[in-house]
Amino acid sequence: MNTTLLTSAGFSSTQPVGLLWYLTAAAILFALGLTACMARRNAIGILIGLELILNAAILNFMAFWRFGQSATNDTSMAGPMMGIFIIVLAACEAAVALAILLNLYFNFGSVEVDKANRMRL
């Protein structure tokens, strides 16, 4: 990859860490989470993937809040608030998902999602 292209895109060793670094990190995080969701057979793995996706979203919110605030002169706390919301949401989701997971285990004897390939027993 050519340095000029990276630099023009916002990645620079001379410049302080900008928005693009955060976005790239969030994108990588999202891709990892999505890959985990798609590739993992273990339901717990999938759950971890989902957490990664949500964290990527939080990172995006925070980055856009942090860098967008100076540009638009916004003094609200929208970014952190969204982050906290998503963390709460993730906690709820984890609780529900773990309940499902437990049931899955009771019914199939394992937590491999491929075994639960039907809508009925």
Binding site: C37, M38, R40, V113, D114, A116, N117, R118, M119
Partner: protein
């Protein structure tokens, strides 16, 4: 209009009708099956009829009641009218019908005693009487036709009274069908009248004839048609064959229906409508009548059955009446109708008494010597026989003489001497066969001793009718004056005027009377214009017709007396046994000598056989041919059509099975199922796979959107 007479007429009609209903419904619950009701009601009707007759006798008007009412409304201002008519002819017919009917009822209470269908018999007699009274009371052709058919029906019922007997039921059917044949002609005549005149009232018909509304060929067709009906009912050649067979019915029925009243209905019709017939038709009528008179008399010469002789005699005498009407002798024809009704009914009832006494033996060759056992019956029978034979002074003599005078006068003016020959030779034959019958039955030695020993004089209810009718056979000639006075056949205009004055009129009748009033000598002119012999006959005292009649009168009287006496003497010579049991001449030898003639007469000119061959066999052959045609052609077509339907349904079934069921219904279902099977392969149930596909789809969509919005792939 004479209201008293109207009420009497309606009562005469209604009384037997009501008692018919009562007897018809309840005869089984009444004592003696209600015969006393029937008889007493007829007695009451007779009293009323005599009252009407008496009033009519002392009344100069020609018509007393002529009342019409809308019976069947058809169009605006147009209706088929019904109505009642009482004139002198009706008055005398009422007396004839009720008198004979009453006497026959009385006679039947003994004659039919213990019969299986006693109540039905009396109900039949009553219905017949009602119909006959309705027939003579009608003032239009429609009502006449209705009652005409009703008397035919009751005749059928009563002839077939003992229908267990094959011959009786056959005779009933024969009588019904033969008279129906004539009635078809009559119906055609009525239809022609209605189409040409627009009304069936007698008055309108006469007016239309005068005015020319009914003329030419239509008048001839109407006249012939109506007369054809009369031929059937009055048993004129060639439709006479049913009457001798009708003797299968009970003898009182023969007296009432087949001697006195119903068979006279044809004569009544011809007389009533005399102005409607045109001269050629009248000539035809005269020839039919003359021929029938002679023809039937010859058959009567050799018959052995006592009732068959009387039956052929009736045919012959009816021929006389028709002959008289045909030559314009209205008075003499109807006069003879009346006298004949009395003495022929007397003869039939006398024959009934004899048959009753001889245990239902009808063959004269088994009779003989009955005068010693049944003196009163013998005397009454002799009186009636003398009247029928035309013995001077008896009723039949006067009426027959009047007919012969009319025929002779007609022949003197117009030729047609055949009628004269037929008329006079019938006088001779009549006298001969009647005395043959009388001598065979009542004189000489008994031929069947067993039956003779049991024979006895009849009880009183059977004797009274005989005595009454025997008396009337002697004095009935006194009614000649009455008939001479009624004479309404002068012309149509006279009739129309009479009907108009009696209460009912139509515009057509008004205009005709007005016209004749305007003309100076209306009726001579009109009759001459039409060349109507009828009109000529009464044109005036000094017309050639009147002179001829005057001349003919004494000639006819003398000649007929001589012939009648000759016939009686010849009958005596053949059949009156002397003390040693022999007759002067031997009838057996004569029969042998003329065996061919005897055989022909004995078999009634083979007419029944000829009809059998001509009509019955033809009809049967036609039926067989039609049946074959039906079976082969019609049934074949029907079966072919059925087969075609079957084949078509077979083809449709195949189409249904293969195309509809196979291709459309099952085919579409199978296609859908196949596609479903193909598609559900993707539904693996692996959530990861779904997610992967979702992301893949998202990538594709976002790529497409990026390309669409920016046109390139670069960031």
């Amino acid at each position: 209009m004479d209201h008293t007479m109207l009420k009497c007429g309606l009562a005469i009609f209604a009384l037997p009708l009501v008692s018919f209903v009562v007897l018809g419904l309840f005869n089984k619950r009444l004592p003696r099956r209600g015969d006393f009701i029937a008889t007493s009601v007829m007695g009451l009707a007779l009293g009323l009829s005599l009252y009407v007759f008496w009033r009519a006798w002392s009344d100069p008007r020609p018509v007393f009641v002529n009342l019409s009412f809308a019976w069947l409304p058809m169009e605006v201002n147009k209706a088929v009218l019904g109505g009642i008519l009482i004139d002198r002819l009706t008055a005398v017919m009422l007396v004839v019908v009720t008198l004979v009917s009453f006497l026959v009822h009385l006679f039947s209470t003994k004659y039919m005693e213990g019969d299986v269908r006693y109540g039905r018999y009396f109900a039949g007699l009553l219905l017949f009487t009602v119909s006959m009274l309705g027939l003579v009371l009608a003032n239009n052709l429609l009502y006449l036709y209705m009652f005409w058919e009703l008397v035919g029906l009751t005749s059928y019922i009563l002839i077939g009274h003992w229908f267990e007997k094959k011959s009786a039921s056959d005779a009933a059917i024969k009588a019904f069908i033969t008279t129906r044949l004539g009635d078809v002609g009559m119906f055609i005549g009525i239809m022609v009248c209605y189409l040409q005149v627009g009304s069936l009232q007698y008055g309108d018909l006469f007016a239309a004839v005068e005015q020319g509304g009914l003329s030419g060929a239509w008048r001839t067709i109407a006249g012939l048609g109506l007369f054809f009906g009369a031929m059937g009912k009055s048993a004129q050649f060639p439709l006479h064959v049913w009457l001798p067979d009708a003797m299968e019915g009970p003898t009182p029925v023969s007296a009432l229906i087949h001697a006195a009243t119903m068979v006279a209905a044809g004569v009544y019709l011809t007389g009533r409508l005399l102005p409607v017939f045109d001269p050629p038709t009248l000539l035809f009528i005269a020839y039919i009548g003359g021929f029938t008179a002679l023809f039937a008399a010859t058959i009567a010469l050799v018959q052995d059955d006592i009732k068959k002789v009387l039956a052929y005699s009736t045919v012959s005498q009816l021929g006389y009446m028709i002959l008289a009407l045909g030559v314009g002798g209205y008075v003499s024809g109807l006069f003879h109708l009346t006298t004949h009704a009395f003495f022929k009914a007397g003869l039939f009832l006398g024959a009934g008494a004899v048959i009753h006494a001889m245990h239902h033996e009808q063959s004269m060759s088994k009779y003989g010597g009955l005068r010693r056992k049944m003196p009163i019956t013998t005397v009454c029978y002799l009186l009636a026989t003398l009247a029928l034979a035309g013995f001077p002074g008896f009723s039949g003599f006067w009426s027959k003489d009047a007919i012969l005078a009319d025929v002779l006068a007609f022949a003197m003016l117009n030729g047609h001497w055949f009628l004269v020959v037929a008329g006079f030779s019938t006088v001779f034959l009549t006298a001969f066969y009647m005395f043959r019958q009388f001598f065979l039955t009542f004189t000489g030695k008994p031929r069947d001793h067993h039956a003779y020993d049991h024979a006895h004089e009849s009880p009183l209810p059977m004797l009274i009718p005989l005595i009454v009718l025997g008396t009337l056979a002697v004095v009935g000639g006194g009614m000649g004056g009455w008939f001479g006075a009624m004479n309404p056949a002068k012309s149509g205009v006279e009739q129309v005027r009479g009907l108009r004055e009696a209460g009912f009129t139509t515009p057509l009748m008004d205009s005709v009377v007005q016209q004749s009033h305007d003309a100076e000598t209306p009726h001579a002119a009109s009759s001459e214009a039409h060349g109507d012999p009828l009109g000529d006959a009464h044109a005036g005292e000094h017309s050639p017709e009147a002179e001829a009649r005057h001349k003919a009168h004494y000639m006819a009287m003398g000649l007929s007396t001589c012939l009648a006496l000759a016939g009686i003497l010849l009958g005596a010579a053949f059949y009156l046994q002397r003390k040693d049991g022999k007759t002067l001449l031997d009838p057996g030898r004569v029969a042998q000598r003329c065996s061919l003639a005897h055989r022909i007469l004995w078999n009634k000119y083979y007419l029944d056989e000829a009809y059998m061959a001509c009509f019955v066999m033809t009809t049967r052959a036609l039926a067989v041919i039609s049946a074959t045609f039906d079976r082969l052609i019609i049934d074949g077509i029907v079966n072919l059509a059925g087969w075609c339907g079957w084949a078509w349904s077979y083809l449709t079934e195949i189409f249904d099975r293969i195309v509809v069921d196979g291709w459309f219904v099952n085919g579409s279902a199978q296609t859908t199922a196949y596609m479903g099977r193909q598609v559900n392969q993707s539904q693996t149930g692996y959530v990861r796979q779904y997610l992967m596909l979702t992301v893949l789809g998202l990538l594709i969509i976002s790529s497409v959107c990026a390309y669409a919005f920016y046109g390139y792939w670069q960031p």
